[in-house]
């Protein structure tokens, strides 16, 4: 190297960096020992030779231009391993390629740049470590991305469940159907991003037979859309499940709403129990795209709406049926009752006027009248049970009520063993005793003895109405409380009395059963036992026998006669 003694450069042999010196003609002037080791090319082989002899690619413009700048301007040049992976190819043990960072700096002398020092750093370890670090980072990022994706899915699912819950709550609330539909419509609009919408039910109790709830639409648009919905061909097409038919309806509706600059429209038929009952329509001023999950949520909510609408329609029909049944009952109880009263009066008059009235025929007429009156009375009681169904129960003195009921049955042998106590019931509780005492008298005849008892049970009171009448065969006992189930004897009733008893006891929170008055001896009479909830502070005194029924239940002696007049 001209002007620079080799001995002064010998220090460069000691650094772990590849170093060589070029002159302006790109002839190598120095080649250090590190480079000898890396490249396998000796100093002797390289010094005095053109760079291009061993490394012709370094004369390509991407390198040559920058080397020229070093000599012309004196500006240093940096070559990174990422942009120049093969600047001075070196194979490392194991066959790996060496990664290098190369810096070229000018060496001036006498105001002129005469040489350039090329320094090559081995950055292979750095590249590999960075590579490992990137792999770890990418894996971590991938994991974070996966977690974020799952979180987003969870949030989305949560939102879907939340909207479905809100919609279900709104549509099943006790509010009026119009209000419920309006609430659920607003929820659907906020979920889908549509700006306006309406729900139209074909059948409703409104005066015009249809119901419309809407949000964000002008009255004129509502009327226009309704006129399309209600027009014959469209109504039929709308009820059709065919896609072509539905598309035809959509086109017609779009024509109507585009007059107000609505751009996108979604309409969905509303069905209840597979029957078309109405439509939903959503409108937007921009294009609203719903993905599969959103559509599924909407379909699910619309299914709920359909169920609620179907239920409302059934309720409306039930209300009509109930009103009709009430009309029939009014006719029965008022008109038929009046007629029977008239017939009764007429039969008594007839008996007085006739010289030789037939006792059989007259008593047949009077029994008939009594039966009709009983039927009317039973029907009236059942009606009251249904009407009272929603009124709260209140404490009633059981012993006093039984005493009052006994007064109705003048001449009957009734033994009242009910201690002072209160039960939860209503004013119809007396009907239970009226029917049971009446049944005992009907089936046991005038000489039958009736016991009425009560004893405490867990959380309530068990009552027992017993008689020493003919008893009931075992196979009939189970069905006695069913409606229209009657006894077998001549005096059997119309099957409503015990049905009334069981209906009332159920309403009071209790249950009924029929047993032999003396177990295993059906011929010794019947006991009807039912439970009632205890009310107030009057707790009955426990009867003897550790809460069991007293020994008198075997019907032998010690009967106290009451109300025998």
């Amino acid at each position: 190297m001209m002007g620079v003694g080799m001995e002064s450069l010998s220090v460069l042999d000691m650094v772990p960096i590849g170093l060589f010196v070029l002159d302006r003609d790109l002839v190598i002037q120095f080649w250090n020992r590190t480079l000898e080791t890396w490249t396998g090319l000796s100093r002797e082989e390289m010094v005095g030779h053109q760079l291009k002899e061993q490394y012709p690619h370094l004369l390509e413009p991407r390198y040559a231009g920058r080397l020229e700048d070093v000599f012309q301007q004196g500006t240093p040049a940096v070559f990174s391993s990422q942009l120049h992976p093969e600047m001075l190819p070196v194979t490392l043990p194991g066959g790996r390629r060496q990664h290098q960072k190369v810096t070229v700096t000018a060496i001036p002398r006498d105001g002129k740049i005469r040489w350039a020092l090329v320094a090559i750093e081995d950055v292979t370890d750095l590249v590999e470590q960075v590579g490992l670090h990137r792999e770890m980072r990418d894996r971590a990022l991938e994991e974070v991305g996966y977690r974020r994706q799952k979180e987003a899915e969870l949030q989305r699912r949560n939102r879907e469940l939340s909207i479905m819950h809100a919609a279900t709550t709104a549509i099943t609330s006790p509010a009026r159907l119009r209000e419920r539909l309006s609430n659920v419509l607003n929820l659907l609009l906020s979920y889908t991003g549509f700006e306006a919408g309406m729900i139209h039910l074909f059948e409703h109790e409104d005066p015009d037979g249809a119901l419309v709830v809407q949000t964000g639409l002008l009255p004129g648009t509502v009327e226009e859309v309704r006129s399309i919905w209600l027009a014959g061909p469209y109504l039929d097409l709308m009820k059709s499940t065919e896609k072509g038919a539905q598309e035809e309806v959509r086109t017609a509706l779009l024509g109507a709403v585009r007059k107000e600059a609505w751009r996108d429209l979604l309409w969905i038929p509303l069905t209840a129990e597979e029957r078309p009952v109405g439509c939903l329509m959503f409108l937007s001023e921009r294009e609203c795209l719903l993905d599969r999950e959103e559509r599924e949520v909407i379909e699910s909510i619309i299914c709920e709406i359909g169920t609620a609408v179907g239920k409302a329609l059934v309720e409306a029909r039930l209300k009509d049926a109930h009103a009709q049944a009430n009309l029939y009952l009014d006719i029965l109880m008022h008109d038929v009752g009046n007629t029977v009263t008239t017939i009764g009066a007429a039969s008594e008059l007839l008996a007085l006027q006739l010289e030789k009235p037939s006792p059989g025929a007259l008593s047949q007429i009077q029994r008939g009248i009594a039966k009709v009156n009983e039927i009317i009375r039973n029907v009236s009681t059942i009606r009251q049970i249904h009407e009272q169904d929603k009124t709260p129960l209140c404490p009633i003195r059981l012993d006093e009520l039984v005493r009052t009921e006994m007064e109705v049955f003048v001449g009957a042998r009734i033994i009242n063993e009910v201690p002072p106590c209160e039960v939860l019931a209503d004013r119809l509780l007396g009907e239970v005793f009226t029917n049971l005492i009446g049944n005992s008298l009907k089936h046991g005849g005038r000489d039958v003895t009736i016991w009425i008892r009560a004893r405490p049970t867990e959380g309530g009171i068990e009552c027992s109405v017993e008689d020493d009448g003919p008893g009931i065969p075992e196979e009939k006992k189970r069905h006695l409380f069913e409606r229209f189930e009657t006894g077998q004897g001549e005096r059997s009733g119309h099957g409503l009395g015990l049905y009334i008893v069981s209906s009332l006891v159920r309403r009071y929170g209790g249950s009924c059963r029929v047993v032999d008055r003396i177990e295993g001896h059906p011929e010794a009479g019947t006991a009807v036992r039912f439970t009632l909830l205890a009310g107030g502070n009057h707790v009955p005194v426990s009867p003897p026998g550790d809460g069991d029924w007293p020994p008198e239940r075997d019907g032998i002696g010690n009967h106290r006669l009451v109300n025998r007049t």
């Binding site: 231009g65 301007q73 500006t75 240093p76 940096v78 070559f79 391993s81 942009l83 980072r137």
Partner: protein, 200 residues
């Protein structure tokens, strides 16, 4: 106090710098086989204290490649990017995934090379004009806010700074960086004299 440059002087400087960045773009394209274009929308002569407001972007997270120079023209030059834009530039030039936000040690060297090329070319066009030998320090990479990346270059808020807004256009990607030239006393005058002699 900020020296006021005439429109003609600014235009001449801008032309000089445009020659440099044009050459830098050609070199980058040659090296990376990319289709990069460099534009200089504007240049400003300002005081160092005004630099932060002139750079204008998020000056808390910057990546900078800086070189010092001495001689008839002395001072330092830096290519400065917001760190995120620097990462995007490196990703595009190296073909790495563009969602890599880091500037690790390897990417720092790559960015050093890019800055080295751009600054070399801009300074080179000035050297050619002055026809005088200037010595250079090696380029170095730094990150941080403006004060920390230019810490050793700016001595006082009154230093003269030539700020060159540089736009890197890679296909549909447009990134903006700044070339900051901090010139010591007399250097700007030397430069302007050189320009005037060229015009004369």
């Amino acid at each position: 106090m900020t020296r006021i440059l005439t429109d003609e002087q600014l235009d001449a400087l801008k032309e000089l710098i445009n020659i440099g960045v044009g050459r830098a773009a050609a070199m980058l394209n040659e090296m990376t086989s990319s289709r990069i274009r460099l534009r200089v929308p504007w240049i400003r002569l300002a005081e160092a204290g005004e630099l932060e407001s002139l750079i204008g972007k998020d000056s808390r997270q910057l990546s900078a490649v800086k070189m010092g120079f001495g001689g008839p023209l002395s001072g330092s030059a830096a290519l400065i990017f917001p760190k995120t834009e620097a990462a995007i530039l490196v990703s595009h030039l190296t073909g790495e995934p563009a969602d890599t936000p880091d500037i690790d040690a390897l990417r720092a060297v790559t960015l050093t090379e890019i800055g080295n090329i751009v600054v070399n070319c801009v300074l080179g066009s000035m050297m050619n004009l002055l026809q005088q030998q200037v010595s250079f320090s090696l380029p170095c990479y730094g990150e941080g806010d403006l004060a920390s990346v230019m810490r050793t270059s700016m001595r006082s808020p009154g230093d003269r700074v030539l700020l060159v807004r540089t736009r890197f256009c890679l296909e549909e990607l447009h990134l903006e960086g700044d070339i900051v030239l901090i010139l010591e006393v007399g250097s700007l005058d030397q430069l302007l004299l050189g320009i005037e002699s060229l015009e004369g």
